[in-house]
Amino acid sequence: MKLELRGITKRFGNFTANDRINLVVEPGQIHCLLGENGAGKSTLMNVLYGLYQADGGEILLDDEVQEFAGPGDAMRAGIGMVHQHFMLVPVFTVAENVILGHEQAGFAGVLKMKEARQRVRDISARFGFDVDPDARVGDLPVGVQQRVEIIKALSQDARVLVFDEPTAVLTPQETDELMAIMQQLRAEGRSIVFITHKLREVREVADAITVIRLGKIVGEAEPTASNADLAALMVGRSVDLTVHKEPAQPGAEVLRVEGLTVLDENGLKVVNDVSFNLREGEILAIAGVQGNGQTELTEALLGLQNKVSGSITLNGAEILGRSVRTILDAGVGFVPEDRNRDGLIAEFSIAENLMLDRSTGEPFVKAGNVQRAFRDEFATEKRTEFDIRSGGINSLASELSGGNQQKVVLARELSRDLKLFVAAQPTRGIDVGSIEFVHKRMVATRDAGVPVIVVSTELDEVVALADRIAVMYRGEIVGIVPSNTPREVLGLMMAGERHTEAPEAAHEVTA
């Protein structure tokens, strides 16, 4: 089925998310939609899928204009979508999720579950999936959940399939498998829209590439285009993808984590017997697919987790079991993973956010009174130093772009006297300019002698920043390897293959 978008425009208030976008996807073609976070890719696809109503333009399938009042209409017309955040009900079985919305039912609406299970098995067999129709979706690994999403779309015989950032939650190996599935779907003559911001994937499967920036189409490219060319198109200027840093000059050991185990409220070991150490002036990157215990590990370092055992020593003093206040005062700086939820208070001004973790005493507070003059002076200085682009120090955090919000968090954490700096996903969802800035500051922090732990799910970022890389899988550290480790090896480790460092290297690191 041929898909054509003509002049699609979508506005949210004053903000134009999609500006007159034209796109043609031929049957049997994988069409890549490439763009940065926030470029408007997902909005466009939500318009196509009927979740948003376009303010202008039209959608054509096989040259016929379509009117979609909701996703139901789009599905009936033959459009299927594999969502970035899976649209699956966790407490339902696979079969229940697959039939939801177009159930076959007999007398009094009683569901025909037998047929539903068979349907799941049929589609699974066709693509070589191993999916149990009676498994509870919430119990399945994310890779399998994604296959359930694909089965769901195919059970409606979707002729146009949209994959919205499908590889964000996958290991490199799972990503390869997904690419193979997409090629198989293409061979069946389906039209595929593949949304991503990862250049490598684009070059691997795309038949055509459209690049979108700030809601507009900025160009088309051949799959043979170089990474640098694609990146330049995507961000609108030539980008330096590497981080410049001198070799690390590790000093004395600062942090030692031994046998750290964190339980969640159900008693699951989300961090399982993790041990590592960290020395002055080095960056340890924690790599791994999202949700393998990285969040809980960093939160445990700051004292935010409850059921913790093992030992964390900072400069020889035990900090496990101490209050967050004590740990902050001991000199731990922390950039939380979810900036908007944990990093900032959206309704507070920049100045207020900058003193959030120093409200207990001088110099910011004297005799219970906030020293406003001092605070404002401090904020003005930091705003310049960290290049926070805003109307002023009294702008609300919610009015800032993601990149500038992150700079506020960094400014707050880095302007204390630090002994350890922990940054979880510091560049997630921010623009390229801010990413460069954040990377530079982190390297500068390292060079000032402060040990840095950075958690990232982006392998490129991990490799660019790290002096050493620890890979986490299912709550365990499967290995700590040097930053020049080949990507394929890191990929295998992210899928749970255990690796050991060569003896000399291990000796070197712990010496």
Partner: protein, 443 residues
């Protein structure tokens, strides 16, 4: 590159070192059940051993006009108390032992033993307590159970309304208001028309009207659902009280003298000893309740209606992306929940009393809400929970009637105490519908 890195050999995969696919689980010990049983054991030692009451207590298993009469059991209160206390202590020890075996015994086995122990414990405690409290009297077992069912009917209707509403994603604190509106309208319409059936229809309509307000504010205007529910309860209480004083009492003959639904014995079934008269010699509304509970259960888990309803309550966006209209599904199912709860209100006027009284529902809606949570949003379990609460209320009535040594003020607290204990302590981690109480905003 640094010296550290250049010295490193290439990493090599270790042969058999892949990590298992599932996370390891450390079992957490829960002392809740053990502590609860220990507390009750202490209570029973104090009541039955330290302050025993001497004399005979009879347990009567049949009413005077039953077809088959069973003999009355007579037991010595003090002996029963001692024997039961020993049993209770042993059961407590068993549960403590099982708790200590966490990690060694399979979780299933532990759960099974604990549940069985708690049930036996509760029954034994109840026998000893009745024998102790009613020394010198007969315990009318059938009467006790009959009263339990009577008091539970509005709770069960309310709980079914609550289950449907919460499963579709709208917290229904307004059950109280729906019951009260149902009670008021059914009394008035039944009195005016002379037909209790018309009264039942009116009760459903009244419940639906309360639901409309809840649904409109919660779904359309995204007002906090708990606040809307609380305000609705106050509104309905005020409105019915005002209309009662200003309209119903002016002409109680025509407006507030409802024809009552009388018990209908089901031939055969009603003659079964003990449970026959309790379950099968009831008013038509109780039979309607059996059907409603069965339909809600089957409907929720076996039909298209139930699948969509649950999907909307668990993950509204997922439901939206497969073409289910979330707002509409919520609106109509909250309305249905109101209709069912309204029927429960009719029970007060058309079965129990025969007329409307000010604030006659007296908190039943909140106990129904507790039954929903205690029953973990499952219709069958919620029904059992409602029966438990009904039993507690009725026990208080019976004990007050024979003049038990426990102060009646304390006995009045009993149902609420059971509610708090049940909801707080014994449910464990119950997880409700994920999106319950959260408004769905498209986009």
């Amino acid at each position: 590159m640094s010296e550290q890195q250049s010295n490193t050999q290439t990493v090599t995969p270790a042969a058999d070192a892949a990590i298992s696919e599932v996370l390891e689980k450390k079992e957490l010990r829960s002392w809740k059940a053990a502590i609860a049983l220990a507390l009750f054991s202490v209570v029973s030692i104090i009541l039955f051993v330290v302050f025993p009451r001497h004399g005979q207590t009879g347990f009567r298993w049949s009413g005077a006009d039953d077809l088959i009469t069973l003999p009355t059991w007579h037991v010595d209160a003090a002996t029963t108390g001692t024997v039961v206390t020993i049993l209770l202590v042993l059961l407590t020890a068993l549960v403590v032992w099982v708790t200590l075996q966490t990690g060694r015994l399979a979780p299933r086995t532990r759960r099974l033993i604990t549940t069985a122990a708690v049930i036996v414990f509760a029954l034994a405690f109840m026998v000893a307590f009745l024998a102790w409290a009613m020394v010198g009297n007969n315990v009318p077992v059938t009467g006790l159970l009959l009263g339990t069912v009577s008091l539970s009917v509005p709770l069960i209707f309310g709980a079914m309304g609550g289950v449907i509403s919460e499963r579709v994603g709208v917290v229904n604190v307004a059950i109280e208001g729906q019951l009260l509106a149902g009670a008021f309208c059914s009394a008035m319409v039944a009195s005016l028309t002379g037909s209790p059936w018309a009264g039942l229809v009116a009760a459903m309509v009244a419940g639906v009207l309360v639901s409309f307000v809840l649904a409109a504010f919660a779904i359309k205007y995204l007002v906090d659902q708990v606040i809307v529910g609380v305000v609705l309860n106050v509104l309905v209480t005020g409105l019915t009280s005002f209309l009662y004083s200003s309209v119903l009492t002016k002409d109680a003959e025509t407006l507030n003298t409802a024809p009552r639904l009388s018990p209908v014995a089901i031939p055969g079934l009603s003659e079964i000893p003990v449970i026959g008269p309790v379950l099968f010699n009831q008013s038509a509304l109780v039979y309607v309740m059996y059907v409603v509970v069965a339909l809600v259960f089957l409907g929720l888990f076996k039909t298209r209606w139930g699948l969509r309803l649950r999907a909307v309550g668990e993950h509204p966006k997922a439901a939206d992306t497969v073409g289910i209209n979330v707002a509409r599904t919520r609106f109509w199912n909250v309305s249905l929940a109101g209709a069912i709860a309204g029927l429960g209100g009719a029970y007060f006027t058309l079965v129990s009393v025969g007329s409307f009284q000010k604030e006659m529902v007296a908190g039943a809606g909140f106990i129904a809400l507790a039954a929903v949570i205690f029953g973990r949003w499952d219709p069958i379990r919620a029904t059992l929970a409602a029966l438990l609460f009904g039993f507690a209320s009725n026990l208080q009535n019976v004990l007050a009637a024979v003049g038990s040594p426990v102060p009646s003020e304390f006995m009045l607290m009993l149902p609420y105490l059971v509610t708090i204990l049940a909801v707080a302590g014994l449910v464990g981690q119950s997880v409700g519908p994920a999106a319950s109480g959260k408004p769905y905003i498209k986009g």
